[in-house]
């Protein structure tokens, strides 16, 4: 691709996280489901990738498979250039502090029997950091998420509201100074007024520490607010990925279009959205052949049942997996060197 650039560009830094052909299967009573099916994306430093989709699309499973909780069945997860799927359990434990997660249900993720101070200190204790150093770090982490360490340190999780528990959970991750924070529906269980507090907190924390976020959510509004890039998932596959403005501004996949149309907008004067989608997500036990969205797709043609579309570029940082994309590929323009050093996403 580097066809004599005018000035020697520095070699772009490799992305913090590169996921390729990720597959995760589960055995369920009716057989085996492929919850994540050949998913790939990249995430740069200090960047946020939103992973959005309806329930059962595999977004949470993807997030956990990246963290090897549990490890994926196939595919590659390279974090800071290191292949996580090849690491032994012991080596993985060494890397864990750099990859942290914030869970959907903060109450469930905090051991009810422990005090807040011990919960936050758990990571550093496991990592074998010196005792003397831990107390100070714990206090600093609690203060950073807006809790008074002296006040909350000796209390237990059930004494706190959902929003406060989520702050504790964030402090628990922050104290380890991670590079990547997977946020698995971190505000789904919170009220709107509290949700905004947590979103702003995550944004502050991200900016202050140069964190990368893999932000998993079903809420398209939240994902748009926090993300630089976004990947839309449907039934285990990424159907569209790109920078937020491209994907939200000019969605190329009919599913993304329908999803955006379905979001209830808090504005009575909003223009009427396009036609609604028919039916519901099919059972992952028997996914449709070819393109998995074809059973609900308004544009489906015979070819969609025969051939599963691969991701292909339709813009600078915008790829779609659809035979009849709503936006056409800028083929003629792609020979020019890209202006920015945006890393591409997805598998080749």
């Amino acid at each position: 691709m580097t066809s004599e650039p005018p000035t020697p560009l520095p070699r772009p830094e490799p992305p913090l996280l590169r996921v390729e052909n990720l597959v995760k299967r589960f055995r369920v009573p009716g057989g085996v489901i492929e919850a994540v099916s050949r998913v790939g994306f990249t995430l740069g430093r200090a960047q946020t990738l939103g992973l959005v989709g309806e329930s059962g699309c595999g977004k949470s499973t993807t997030g956990r498979a990246v963290l090897q909780l549990p490890p994926p069945d196939a595919g590659s997860v390279r974090f800071r250039g290191e292949e996580l799927t090849a690491l032994s359990r012991r080596d993985m434990r060494r890397v864990r502090p750099s990859l942290q997660i914030v869970w959907q249900d903060p109450r469930s993720a905090l051991n009810p029997g422990r005090r807040v101070r011990d919960l936050v200190a758990e990571g550093p204790v496991i990592a074998g950091r010196p005792r003397a150093e831990i107390a100070g770090r714990v206090d600093a982490a609690l203060a950073e998420v807006g809790l008074n360490p002296a006040e909350v340190g000796d209390r237990r999780p059930h004494e706190f509201s959902g929003g406060q528990c989520q702050r504790i959970a964030i402090a628990r991750a922050l104290v380890l100074e991670p590079d990547l924070l997977v946020c698995d529906e971190p505000v789904a269980s919170l009220d709107v007024s509290v949700q905004a507090q947590v979103i702003n907190l995550l944004q502050d924390v991200k900016a202050r520490h140069g964190l990368s976020l893999l932000f998993i959510s079903h809420d398209l509004g939240v994902v748009r607010n926090v993300s630089d890039r976004v990947a839309v998932m449907y039934l285990g596959r990424i159907v569209e990925i790109g920078d937020v403005d491209s994907v939200y501004g000019a969605p190329a996949h009919p599913y993304t279009r329908a999803l955006l149309d379905a979001v209830p907008v808090p504005d009575p004067l909003a223009p009427p959205p396009g036609p609604p989608l028919k039916g519901e997500v099919p059972s992952p036990l028997r996914p449709p052949s070819g393109c998995r969205f074809r059973t609900r797709c308004p544009l489906a043609q015979p070819v969609c049942a025969e051939q599963a579309p691969d991701l292909r570029p339709v813009g600078d940082d915008h790829q779609v997996a659809c035979h009849f994309s709503l936006k056409e590929s800028p083929v003629s323009r792609s020979s020019a060197p890209s202006r920015t050093a945006v890393q591409d996403g997805g598998p080749r």
Binding site: R96, P97, I101, S108, A109, N111, H158, A169
Partner: protein, 278 residues
């Protein structure tokens, strides 16, 4: 969450705890009490209760002190019951939590072992053991303890699975915790309260089982004074001296009832606030 004992337990709970406490003290301090030896005659046979001092409960068919035998019997009955329960609870608890945590092959192996124990006719096993090994407190504790591993394992597995579904165990793994920490710091502590409250109820059952076995002659061999053995010996004099059966029966009844009362109370406290249990 409740700082004071709930009012639901009330008087019955206090009486039950009092009885168990008294029994425990007597059993522990039996050597310090001015009691005659339980296996030597102190007077004529079949003395009625309250007829002489200090033998207020009278004597049995061969002139041994009923009071002394009752208190020494308490020691043996409680030792067997508590010992066997502890063995079953610890072993069953560990196996259950391990099965839940490891899943897969280990879970199947543990399941097969437990099913094998359950499939064994318990009485036959004890009779066979009595024929091979010298019967005694140790043998009884070991065999009863093993026999009662499966129910504890089931309970512990269910409790552990419920906790594995809550995210905090995975959350600890995400923080870098290893197997040991996950098992002993995250999973086990939450499983202790349900297992412990069940153990108290099981201790009551063990008292009865020990009594029944001794009554059948495959438990504690005479002349050691277990309650079951006392009932067995007393049944020959039932018409003449019913107190020889009634007194150990009453002791056993009160103890079983007390264990059940305390156990139920503990269970009620553990169950509703399972999430808040330490």
């Amino acid at each position: 969450m409740t700082n004071t004992p709930t009012r639901r337990g009330g008087t019955a709970l206090w009486l039950a705890s009092g009885w168990l406490g008294l029994l425990g003290l007597l059993a522990l301090g039996v050597g310090l009490l001015p009691l005659p030896a339980p296996d030597a005659p102190v007077g004529g046979p079949n003395l009625p209760p309250f007829a002489s001092f200090p033998e207020i409960l009278g004597t049995d068919g061969i002139g041994r002190s009923v009071l002394s035998r009752l208190i020494h019997g308490a020691r043996i009955s409680l030792t067997v019951s508590i010992g066997a329960t502890l063995l079953a609870a610890v072993l069953g608890g560990l196996l259950g939590v391990l099965a839940a945590y490891l899943r897969g092959f280990a879970e199947s192996v543990i399941g097969v072992v437990l099913d094998a124990i359950l499939a064994f006719p318990p009485l036959l096993l004890l009779l066979a053991l009595a024929a091979v090994v010298r019967p005694g407190v140790g043998t009884l504790v070991a065999s009863l303890g093993l026999l009662f591993v499966p129910p504890f394992a089931r309970l512990a597995k269910a409790a552990a699975l419920a906790r594995l579904n809550r995210e905090y165990v995975v959350a600890a793994e995400a923080l870098g915790a290893g197997h040991g920490r996950l098992l002993f710091r995250e999973l086990m502590p939450g499983c202790v309260p349900p297992v412990a409250s069940y153990a108290v109820v099981m201790a009551a059952l063990m008292i009865m089982v020990e009594g029944a076995l001794s009554f059948l002659g495959v438990g504690i061999p005479p002349p050691a004074p277990s309650w079951g053995a006392m009932i067995a010996a007393g049944k020959d004099f039932l018409a003449m001296s019913p107190q020889l059966v009634l007194v150990p029966c009453a002791a056993m009844f009160l103890t079983v009832l007390s264990f059940n009362t305390v156990g139920e109370h503990l269970r009620a406290r553990v169950d509703p606030g399972a999430g808040d249990a330490r």
